[in-house]
Amino acid sequence: MRSKPMFGTLLLLTALSGCPSGEPQTGSSGKLTGEVRATTIGEIPLSDPLSLAWNGTPETSVMLLPQTVAYPNLIKQSVKELRVRALADAQFLAVRLEWNDPSLDEKLEVDKFTDGVAVEVPLGDPDKTNPMMGDPANPVFILHWKAAWQRDVDRGRADVQDYHPGFISDRPPFVSGGHPYPISEAFETDNARRYLPGTAAGNPVSKIFRKWPVEELQAEGFGSLADHTYQDSQGKGVWKDGKWTVVLALPRQSPDRANPMFVPGKAVMGFAVWDGANQNVGGRKHWAPFVKVVLP
């Protein structure tokens, strides 16, 4: 049973949050609110979200809303605003996303959830695309960053001994080496990985090695999220002074035909933010409908 999207609500929310066809506005803070304007630069500082180079492009304030269209809903809103800047160079179109978050949540355990952010781009006609994960006729591209993945990339894949230093267990079947049997070293054979079921099944969430803290995905409705076979986007996030600053970069010329093509004058982007401390995960997220992106 698929929940029916509430288009009436969407229209209202779209009107509140800045619609792609609307004129850009300037909020009380002097920031843009109706569109994201990308500025050209020689080389985007992809590995440094805090680089001063980002100050040379205008900041847009995007109002976030709790997701209440599909089950399960986000009941408690904890992030209200996302600040967006965009830069473009010959290789990438990148957005820098900044939001206030008093806690750094990068741990994944049964009751621990990761902070995260994502951008969504229509793969077809933006005017026909449902900003809530698209639909079969009008799918969307999603670039997702998670704090837990950033931790994997920065400091190595989080393992049992990282979160439970005193843990003791029998030797898992078919592993090599000794206790604590690091998953990045001891589980090299197919037989050993059979006891990591998600990994053995090829689930991208269960990947042991991760080059980038981002994942390219595609969706055509609620619950349809699927990862791209070819991953060529990049990203980097930094948590400092109670706020996250994350850069997400999409290649402008990609051999991957599943990636979006930005058409000048029709480019839009949607956003979502997850607050791990408040158990945000999946559909329990903050979101913003499509905002116009002005390409350089």
Partner: protein, 375 residues
């Protein structure tokens, strides 16, 4: 929400999906009176399926002591508290199920256990309901009591986990009703962990997705009972298939014991998931506690259980427990034996109603030693 028929509640209830019963439903009967909490089932399951890293806390099968044993900690009392009291009238449940009591924005009423709730798999082991007073002696129902509750996934007819998964990564097999998590589709949202009222779905921090009992389906597909059933040294377990309601067969031991004799009862039927592990309740425990745990059929079930020695058909069905690794599809009582048949109608087991008795001389002349006859 759709309306589905819940046979445990004696009424229709709300459920997020249309009702669709499998061709036949995997089902188990556990006799709590015979369990000695040796944990052989737990170890058999653990070594077979969850010996990997990240699975240290994952027990598809566990045996806990009631009333104070839990895994994860407090799993049932926490949900009972959230659900509130519910009355039964003439076999019909008047309260709300976890689906009907779902808060706004949720499909199921549930809670997410904390990391610490998994740290003591056998917390409360052998803890009694109270102190044994000096001079106390055992009567029919004990003043001070405990019993062992063996637990696995209930492969529910209306699974809470399945209904809560926003990705539809959990499915119920139409051929046997086994509930599985698609390990390639799960994204580790843990909505299922929150929704399962029995907390028999676990998050793996290494693979970052959720896992659950798979009903040993590779064995089931070969006509064999699951590891936890086959290895049970107390012979407390029987696995087979339940027919659809109204299509019960008197020679199917599971149909016979669950639906015809009603000797085995579902665990917390008020949750509303129509669980398919059925328990023969313990004889010596206060009835109010048992009624909260197994529903209104407790008194009748125990009365029938006590009548087994004089009821050859019932005894024959009970003798199917733990005597063969094969799944028993049919059984019958003959003069001296109970006979079980596998899915090909071949005789799989023949159990005497009375075990042969041998008495040996106390002194073994051949070896020159005194014998100890222990059984």
């Amino acid at each position: 929400m759709s309306k589905v028929q819940n046979i445990h509640l004696g009424r229709e209830m709300e459920y997020p999906y249309e009702g669709s019963r499998p061709e036949r439903q995997i089902a188990y009967i556990f006799d709590t009176n015979k369990c000695i909490e040796c944990q052989t089932c737990t170890v058999a399951c653990k070594t077979t399926w969850t010996a990997g890293k990240g699975q240290e806390h994952i027990f598809y099968n566990n045996v806990e002591t009631k009333p104070y044993g839990f895994f994860p900690h407090g799993w049932d009392v926490k949900l009972l508290e959230m659900l509130g009291p519910g009355e039964w009238q003439d076999g019909k449940y008047q309260g709300k199920t976890i689906f009907e009591a779902a808060p706004p924005g949720e499909r199921v009423l549930g809670y997410l256990p904390e990391e610490e709730d998994y740290t003591s798999p056998n917390l409360g082991e052998d803890v009694c309901s109270g102190d044994v007073q000096r001079g106390a002696f055992f009567q029919n129902i004990h003043n001070t009591w405990m019993f062992y509750l063996a637990r696995i996934c209930n492969h529910c007819t209306y699974p809470g986990c399945l209904s809560a998964c926003p990705r539809k990564a959990i499915y119920k097999r139409p051929e046997d009703g086994i509930v599985l998590v698609d390990q390639s589709r799960c994204r580790g949202y843990r909505e299922c962990v929150k929704a399962c009222p029995y907390k028999k779905i676990f998050y793996n921090m290494v693979t970052r997705v959720s896992e659950k009992c798979i009903g040993c389906f590779p064995l089931i597909e070969q006509g064999e009972q699951p590891q936890c059933v086959k290895t049970c040294i107390g012979k407390i377990r029987l696995q087979g298939f339940l027919s659809r309601p109204g299509e019960e067969k008197a020679d199917n031991p599971i149909d016979y014991l669950v639906r015809i004799k009603k000797i085995a009862l579902p665990l917390y039927p008020q949750f509303g998931t129509e669980p398919n592990v059925y328990y023969i309740p313990p004889l010596h425990v206060p009835r109010l506690f048992l009624q909260q745990m197994f529903g209104p059929g407790v008194e009748e079930a125990l009365k029938t259980y006590r009548s087994a020695p004089a009821d050859k058909q019932l005894l024959a069905a009970l003798l199917m427990f733990g005597n063969t690794p094969k799944i028993i599809h049919k059984f019958k009582a003959e003069k001296e034996h109970a006979i079980g048949y596998d899915g090909m109608s071949q005789e799989a087991v023949k159990v005497p109603f009375t075990e042969p008795f041998f008495a040996r001389d106390l002194f073994d002349k051949k070896h020159g030693v005194v014998r100890l006859n222990i059984t």
